[in-house]
Symmetry: C3
Amino acid sequence: MIVLFTDFGLEGPYIGQLEAVLQQQAPGIPVINLFSDLPPFDIQGAAYLLPAYAAGFPPGTVFLCVVDPGVGSDRKGAVLQADGHWYVGPDAGLFSLVTRRARSVEAWWLPEVAGAAPSFHGRDVFAPAAALLARNSRLPGGCASCTPDPRVDWPDDLARVLYIDRFGNAITGLRTAVVPETATLTVQGHALQRAQTFSDVSEGAAFWYANSNGLVEVAVNRGRADVVLNIRAGTPVEL
Amino acid sequence: MIVLFTDFGLEGPYIGQLEAVLQQQAPGIPVINLFSDLPPFDIQGAAYLLPAYAAGFPPGTVFLCVVDPGVGSDRKGAVLQADGHWYVGPDAGLFSLVTRRARSVEAWWLPEVAGAAPSFHGRDVFAPAAALLARNSRLPGGCASCTPDPRVDWPDDLARVLYIDRFGNAITGLRTAVVPETATLTVQGHALQRAQTFSDVSEGAAFWYANSNGLVEVAVNRGRADVVLNIRAGTPVEL
Amino acid sequence: MIVLFTDFGLEGPYIGQLEAVLQQQAPGIPVINLFSDLPPFDIQGAAYLLPAYAAGFPPGTVFLCVVDPGVGSDRKGAVLQADGHWYVGPDAGLFSLVTRRARSVEAWWLPEVAGAAPSFHGRDVFAPAAALLARNSRLPGGCASCTPDPRVDWPDDLARVLYIDRFGNAITGLRTAVVPETATLTVQGHALQRAQTFSDVSEGAAFWYANSNGLVEVAVNRGRADVVLNIRAGTPVEL
């Protein structure tokens, strides 16, 4: 299975162009579009979402990850094998949390691809590599063992909003496993308590909860947390 | 074939997560994303769209339907077999119009699923059930015969706007089969006549017509009915 | 492979309904959703995007193209075979640039389809024709050789913005092959120079570049060109 994890947007031709490459170079292998609207250029936010949302996919899944403001610069492309999953994409911190949390990791730089469009390595470099990995777990020729940027300056959990979903819920970079159930979460001056789920609080009430991928999420029952609490991707939260 | 009918949004990971479950538990079975942007939490509107847009799908199609503001509460999950189609999702009225209009219906409560995320039964309860049905028409173990909420208080046709499409056209809950061709439709004080299609009226003119799924739809030729007539999902219409 | 190229929007049921027809009438043939948010009703803009974005698809690819403000009128439906690709859709100029630039073209009018919904020929006329072509390169019965509208009044390159992508980049109708690398592009009073790619200019700087499909594109490094330069689909550009 190939899983797309990008900031390309569902709009426009980019996801379709990725899928066309994958269809031709890895025919018959299912492609799942997991995230295509990651906040544009926010490598750090994506880096904390990736391990949470990659968990649970079967061994051998190839994650094609592109949040790439530096496309065409000298930033490197990378392939990682971490706990049985493959990851392909630009190395600029995107894989730093996957790496930090994995029990075992191997990594390689991708060689440059002659003729690749300088503005679309997703289509011309990363998708062909993902297709090859998905087809027969083979690295592209010319890969060289590497250590991706570990971003040691980034914390283990990120105390800010990473993503606002369609309902106005705010996904943070805090893992619920490291947050006590009784913790108060403060966001934009509002002190929030934990609830099990939406229907456990009254209509219009704000709360935090353990979302279905193990991250702390801020929500309002039958309302929009982003509007009610005035939050957006990037807003800090505090325990 | 499995058909998704949800308010999850194309944004974010939710549709991808559903598709990942279906791909693993019903490999090779096509998944069609019919509606993923139903108005959030509007169970009633979705209930009137469902029979109109389910018509025409082949026998055995499994509709995975999730508009579920009560997720995690004690509302039940249901499976229905109606006129050769399967329906899976939360029971809170969503299936009431399918049931009312079907020639034959059988229904079952779904058992609870241990370990299901309280906020994402779509992924953890309904998608696995849909996969099982699509694969071999088998109910999950532990299903108990039931009568889903019939919502007898809801009318046979719903005189309001259910959905605004990309072009600004407004789909209503009125079936054209029960509306005379000569009827005047009043919406926000505008009296509209029926036309066959867009090109039958002058540019900028508003009208109603029988849409391609048998519902009364309000439109403006080469314009946006939602803007011109100031309508949105929920706006009442009158015959 | 069947490629969708439409202004239907990802929102709502229309793309899903196309895919359901294709799945039933051409089972197992991959469907790629290339563009589903072309600017509504902008046949001319779509006509210049089509040859740029169709390039590179394998021989035999079927492009199902619908930008169709005249649906239900007496405009004809057409099938084209151009340089090894098939194209199906309404003839009102949409195929004029594909035709003009192809080395070889054959074209046919599609017969009318009894019972087709007057507002959704995409589903009832064009998708079934595309399925037939994709399955065994067979024209629907009753096709008659034709010459699609050549739009001789349209220039070889179109000096305006055709599409704004998710990042705010503006795709124009100018092929980079006919624009000198040293050319200055003027848009909304701003004189822009060419760069190789984003990272070649300073943050916040506007420039033009050869996009990954051979069109002149206006962009801002780590910013939104549409906002910074006040441009949208339709804005003229000047060399």
